[in-house]
């Protein structure tokens, strides 16, 4: 397997300069997928012919792509983002054979910038899970240790980038689904500010929390890709029309005037020793570059996981009501019983056979917390706490002691073993303890590789920033990356 140039910026520079053809790059990606995907199961669908045709079209019209930021860059698209003419399953049996009649805005923007879609990445079913084990197409394996989970829900996206199958993947993040797998697979994962990237064509999980973002090898690559996919979209009323800066110009390495908040009380318990050690070493590195470390308090963050599972399941139960066997995907055969009951039987049986266990569990929980008598005690209560969580962050980011970014681990533990937590959903949910707050508050957050455990499992540092200030977030993450070797490490499976 070839070594070297396999970042977004390296590939697009080479294609634009004519040093490599898009076809050559595409063949390389497809060969890597052929060699490693049987072990990793990172893709639900590979579109080799379509990708080669697209690469050839780029090579045949090089003038048109001379300034394209992603010229010839192979990209894996999480399988909950709609791609016209290409099966989009959300890793669910209920959408097993669904071919969308339209393409998600973020995907369209990647293609307009010259990217070449190589396939649809495996994920947790409807992006519900923390380990990629809820996929109807089987779990993805972690490229650093094949007996371990890659994280979830964008597990296929993270594994594909970590194993160098593609230099770029698109994911979605409702409670950590870009950042946590990025951390556990040793790559960079960025969840933009809510509204920064259009959600049009993203199969909805929890509409007030969902956000699309990139997984890449380097922070610079994440900055390039965000610049491509960010911006308002008439098809998504929650997308923001704030101007999109060139996110790469701020990557100066200079963080001398910046203040990094550290919520120490959150790190006291439940954090794996190697993870805490790596985070503190990373904080030292930021300090050595001139950033100030400031202790901060986020008093309501400890309730974030509970709030998240009340809010997200409520929204999910509502969003997933549309899967009824009528308009798309799978329909169960309902035996006729009494006239008139057939339709409801068909709905209930389609959903019983089409959804997996975790999705049913969340629909049940969400339906319950929205039901009469419990709405106030759970859903409304959680929404009030969401306000308090948001205010904690606003307080940290404003005033005389304001910090620019907040640092914490992305995941309290490194990648766990396949099957270790599947019997206990609550234990699985607690994997999201550090990531869910950014979604509840709508803030941008990035996971950047910050070391390895004694067992050689990747560790990620999470940085959370101010609303629409991805530029500062990326500047800090990039400055850190310059001082450390983690982003350049590749799992052994990809170098053999």
């Amino acid at each position: 397997m070839t070594e070297g140039a396999w970042t977004v910026s390296e590939v697009s520079d080479a294609v634009r300069a004519g040093a490599r053809s898009a076809t050559d790059v595409c063949r390389d990606a497809l060969a890597r997928i052929d060699a490693l995907n049987p072990q990793l199961n990172a893709f639900n669908t590979v579109v080799a012919e379509q990708a080669l045709a697209r690469a050839k079209a780029i090579d045949d019209d090089r003038g048109r792509w001379r300034d394209a930021p992603l010229a010839g860059v192979p990209v894996a698209i999480k399988d909950n983002l709609c791609t016209r003419g290409v099966r989009t399953t959300a890793s669910s049996k209920i959408l097993e054979s669904y071919v969308p009649p339209y393409t998600a805005t973020a995907v369209e923007r990647l293609e307009a910038a010259g990217a070449v879609i190589v396939g649809k990445a495996n994920c947790d079913e409807f992006a519900m899970g923390s380990s990629n084990e809820t996929s109807a197409f089987g779990p993805v394996r972690n490229p650093w240790a094949l007996d371990r989970i890659p994280g979830g829900t964008s597990g296929g996206s993270a594994a594909a980038v970590a194993a160098t199958l593609a230099p770029l993947a698109l994911g979605s993040d409702t409670g950590g689904s870009i950042r946590q797998p990025a951390a556990l697979c040793g790559v960079v994962g960025l969840k933009p500010t809510y509204g920064r990237v259009s959600r049009y064509g993203l199969i909805a999980h929890a509409s007030s929390l969902d956000q699309v973002g990139p997984l890449t090898r380097t922070v610079r690559d994440a900055a390039i890709v965000l610049g491509v996919i960010a911006g308002g979209d008439p098809c998504d009323a929650t997308s923001a029309s704030e101007p999109v800066p060139d996110y790469t110009t701020g990557l100066t390495g200079d963080i001398r005037t910046l203040r990094v908040g550290v919520p120490r009380a959150l790190l006291d318990k439940g954090v794996h020793g190697d993870v805490a050690g790596a985070l503190f070493a990373a904080l030292d590195a930021l300090k050595n570059r001139g950033a100030a470390l400031i202790d901060i308090d986020l008093p309501h963050a400890r309730y974030a996981t509970a709030v998240y599972y009340l809010v997200s399941t409520a929204e999910a139960s509502s969003n997933l009501a549309r899967f009824d066997g009528v308009r798309y995907g799978f329909r169960a055969r309902a035996e006729p019983r009494t006239p008139g009951a057939d339709l409801r039987t068909m709905y209930a049986r389609t959903r019983a056979e089409g959804f997996g266990s975790e999705v049913k569990r969340r629909i049940m929980l969400g339906t319950y917390v929205l039901s009469a008598g419990y709405y106030d005690a759970y859903y409304l209560k959680a929404q009030r706490l969401r306000t308090l969580i948001l205010r904690d962050y606003e307080q940290a980011f404003t005033g005389a002691d304001a910090v620019n970014v907040i640092a914490m681990p992305t995941s309290p533990t490194p990648a766990f073993r396949l099957g270790e937590r599947t019997a206990d959903p609550l234990q699985m949910y607690l994997a999201d303890v550090f990531t869910v707050s950014a979604n509840l508050a709508g803030l941008p957050a990035i996971s950047v590789p910050c070391g390895f455990t004694a067992d050689q499992l990747p560790i990620g540092m999470q940085l959370t920033g101010r609303r629409f200030d991805e530029a500062t977030l990326l500047r800090v993450a990039d400055a850190y990356e310059r001082d450390t070797p983690w982003s350049r490490r590749t799992p052994a499976i990809a170098t053999r």
Binding site: S208, A237, Y309, V326, A352, Q383
Partner: protein, 103 residues
């Protein structure tokens, strides 16, 4: 209403009632499993009751300003392609098909 700090157990009858609301047909084994698991999850989530939220406005969305689009005529999705993605449809007539509803 639930008392603060009381783990709100989940009965099989409740699971069955919620499943009916959610249009989900559950196997007896699933009812048993969900009663236990949903009870565990709610017992954990019940910690939200510890926080006094008197006078705190709920947050349903963090969007501060929604983006309106011009009210202009533009092409919609192709009807044939949309119907083609359905499990059963009369594509030429322009209908989704469902099991018989009326006698």
């Amino acid at each position: 209403m639930l008392a603060s700090g009381m783990p709100p157990g989940f009965t099989r009858e409740q699971v069955t009632a919620v499943a009916a609301l959610a249009n989900l047909e559950l196997e007896p084994a699933e009812i048993e499993l969900f009663a236990k698991q949903l009870g565990d999850i709610l017992a954990y989530a019940d910690e939200v009751q510890q926080v006094d939220t008197t006078g705190v406005e709920p947050t349903a969305s963090v969007t501060r300003q929604t983006t309106d689009r011009a009210d202009e005529l533009r092409p919609s999705l192709d009807r044939g392609e949309v119907l083609d993605a359905a499990p059963d449809a009369a594509i030429d007539a322009g209908f989704f098909k469902v099991p018989r509803v009326i006698g």
